[in-house]
């Protein structure tokens, strides 16, 4: 029932990264809204809302050992990757850089999770 060994280590890492990613995405969402200008471009804000939502969903699926771990990790990785690229465009903005970094880390962890969960 509970995952063992390497799979468990990969899953623990992916859950931790997804929780941290949803946290920084919610913080950065608020940061962007208060910045205004380019930071509140519609597709950018929607992407951060999407990213927080899928990380929240994926973390819960993984933590309860859902049979859909692989599928949910894969789409979580895809959305986090898109969010990382989008945030990375705000070069010189420390908050955006930290968000980009965590999104990239979560994308990597979820990609590994999807690979071992199959």
């Amino acid at each position: 029932m509970a995952p063992q060994g390497m799979t468990k280590a990969v899953m623990d890492r992916a859950i931790t990264d997804a929780l941290e990613c949803l946290r920084i995405c919610e913080e950065t969402l608020s940061y962007c809204l208060h910045q205004g200008g380019r930071h509140v471009e519609a597709e950018h804000i929607k992407l951060m809302v999407d990213c927080a939502a899928i990380c929240r969903t994926a973390a819960a699926f993984m933590a309860r050992g859902s049979r859909f771990n692989a599928e949910i990790s894969r789409i979580c990785a895809q959305i986090c990757q898109a969010c990382a690229v989008d945030c990375a465009q705000f070069s010189g903005d420390e908050q955006m850089m930290r968000c980009a970094e965590q999104c990239r880390r979560c994308a990597d962890s979820c990609t590994q999770m999807a690979a071992v969960a199959v």
Copy 2:
């Protein structure tokens, strides 16, 4: 365990209104982001994200017959009421008026739910 009679009718109405409210809040969030200007003011956008989130949470608590129905309905009513007032300021904007109306309806239903759930 399932609620009976009048309580059930009040609960069914509150669940329906909360689901419809989360839907229109997500739609209106996107609408506002594409409008820009006053529609993307930080506190306004955050309030719509809050409203969608609490409606989602409250609908689920009510549908599964949580023992915290009264508490969650009460805070849902409070947030929906604040969102209704905020949206109603955009007079002449049809999308905002429809959002305000549904938020008010959900606030009323949840207030009734909180009253009968006690």
Copy 3:
């Protein structure tokens, strides 16, 4: 930015079905827990929790016009289909049959959504 014509009709239907599906899954979750026995088998309960969660997530993504509509609809259809099959095994149980039927309907709507969203 808002979808037009046929796509909009398909999306409206998919959002309505996902919201109705999360509602009946939460109700049925509670029903199963109170029934006990075969109704509380671990994988069955987890599947209903998964189904409610992905419907909630998918409805929100669709309603705010996320760029990941196709991907989220596809996984929503997959989980709803699995939940429909699982619930359909409880033949003669009216609540389970209604849940199975709505899960199947949501799986169909989300499959159509994924097709037109590409």
Copy 4:
């Protein structure tokens, strides 16, 4: 808009505890379902689902600096406290004890959050 000093420290702690609490509640939900018997009693399972849901919601509200931080922290504390008491009844069960402990910690952090947020 971002909180400062002591308030920020209290909020960071509350977000961390809520995220950790939703994680252990999802894990323990799965654990209970696989245990069966007294662990799958309806009100117990529903309480753990409620607790995971409110922690998820509260963490997001706090991280994006919602104006409803105090209200959401207060109800989160209440539900976590109830879940802690419920889990603590399974004396001698290590997983339940760890869940009880984290729920209690989150209840404390959210109570403090509600106090400083007012």
